[in-house]
Amino acid sequence: MIEILSPSGHASVQDAGRFGHRHVGIGSNGAMDGLALKTANLMLGNAAEAAAIEVPGVPMRVRFLADTAFALTGADTGATLDGRPLPRNWRDFARAGEELLLGHARQGVYAILAVAGGIAVPPVLGSRATHLRGVFGGFEGRLLQPGDRLPVGESTAGPGAFGVVPPEKALPLGGDAAEATTVRVLPAAEYEAFSDEARRALWATSWRISGQSNRAGYRLMGPVLTLAEPIEMRSHGLVPGVIQGPAGGQPIIQLADAYTAGGYPKIGVVIEPDLWRIAQTPLGGALAFRRCTYDEALAAHDALESHLARIRIWLATCGLGAAA
């Protein structure tokens, strides 16, 4: 068991997502940084769908009520275990009674705290991801509060301590805008319906993530994206990564908790292998969109899968991972 000591109302239990129910309006939810979750589960020898605690950049204190192998990935929070500083992207071992302290994220935003055996809350509709709007999944369908005790699944993982290379080093994606996070974007169905100005602005702007942003979507500050002519859209299914250009409004990137359908025109879609980069860009930070082809998007997907495969192979070579 893990006991939450603080904070109140920020962290939630998430897994890789709830799929197959979009047709009844249930979206995927799940970790904002799916790569961080997969990495943590790999380091612990967990199943890929094991659930973890997602911490959105705020300080957090938890107490381990039993000896537990755990991993911390995603944002750099300057974490300490019983006062001992932990490197980022790290797996370690807590003795019963020890406290883990995460500070404010000093690089990135979302941290993943995973445990060997996974957070063993009951799955709902096939997943342990928290559906905040529907109040189900995760831990009682809500954000975590002090006093919450989260069950931990069975595991034979031992006291290994090691880390893996941070993703921005393993999967660099340089950009022209030094301070902006670059992500690759495929044009969406209504791309051509936007004005020339809008399409130029999409690629050229350093978009700032506004404070009116959350797990459902990020509102971007920058030029208004105008259509060449008004179009009446029909409601259709959406996936995380879709960049909408509401008429006369600022663009919105739909993310993990997005509604499953909508009717605003779409100008582009951030490719799924780059969504973790958005998740780790803070509010007030900047995003730059780089147009890519479908083949380039596939290559990005393959590069990410290779990165994970490489970690899996090297963990085995070093006698770590599941056996550790």
Binding site: R84, P85, A161, V165, H307, R310, I311, I313, W314, T317
Partner: protein, 111 residues
């Protein structure tokens, strides 16, 4: 030197005799200079925020990494003390290669 018993004076920089880390350390007997060596082959990787000589480090803390592919094995501080210098980030090392020059603190010096 008439330093108080729990004060360590360190002079860093070019001096008549410098070690592999470019340090010439004069001690007043309050601490012991040691080297942490690599336990095997790999690439040495520094911490993202390395410990500076001013920051006390406890035994068992991670002070750097030995990288094998994407995996980073911990290099642990062997005793309470201070990290004075490290091998260059990315250096290819083998068993026994010096990774850190540390000062072992005298018993009780770090609360």
């Amino acid at each position: 030197m008439s330093a108080a018993p729990d004060t360590i004076r360190i002079a860093l920089g070019a001096a008549p005799a410098t070690d592999a880390f470019g340090l010439a350390v004069r001690l007043d007997g309050a601490a012991v200079l040691e080297t942490v060596q690599a336990e095997g082959p790999g690439l040495f990787r520094a911490l993202e925020t390395p410990f500076t000589p001013a920051a006390p480090v406890r035994a068992g803390w991670v002070i750097g990494f030995l990288a094998r592919g994407p995996v980073r094995l911990p290099v642990l501080m062997p005793c309470d003390g201070w990290v004075l210098a490290a091998a260059p980030d990315g250096a290819r090392v083998g068993h026994g290669t010096p990774l850190f020059r540390i000062l072992r603190a005298r018993e009780g010096i770090i609360p």
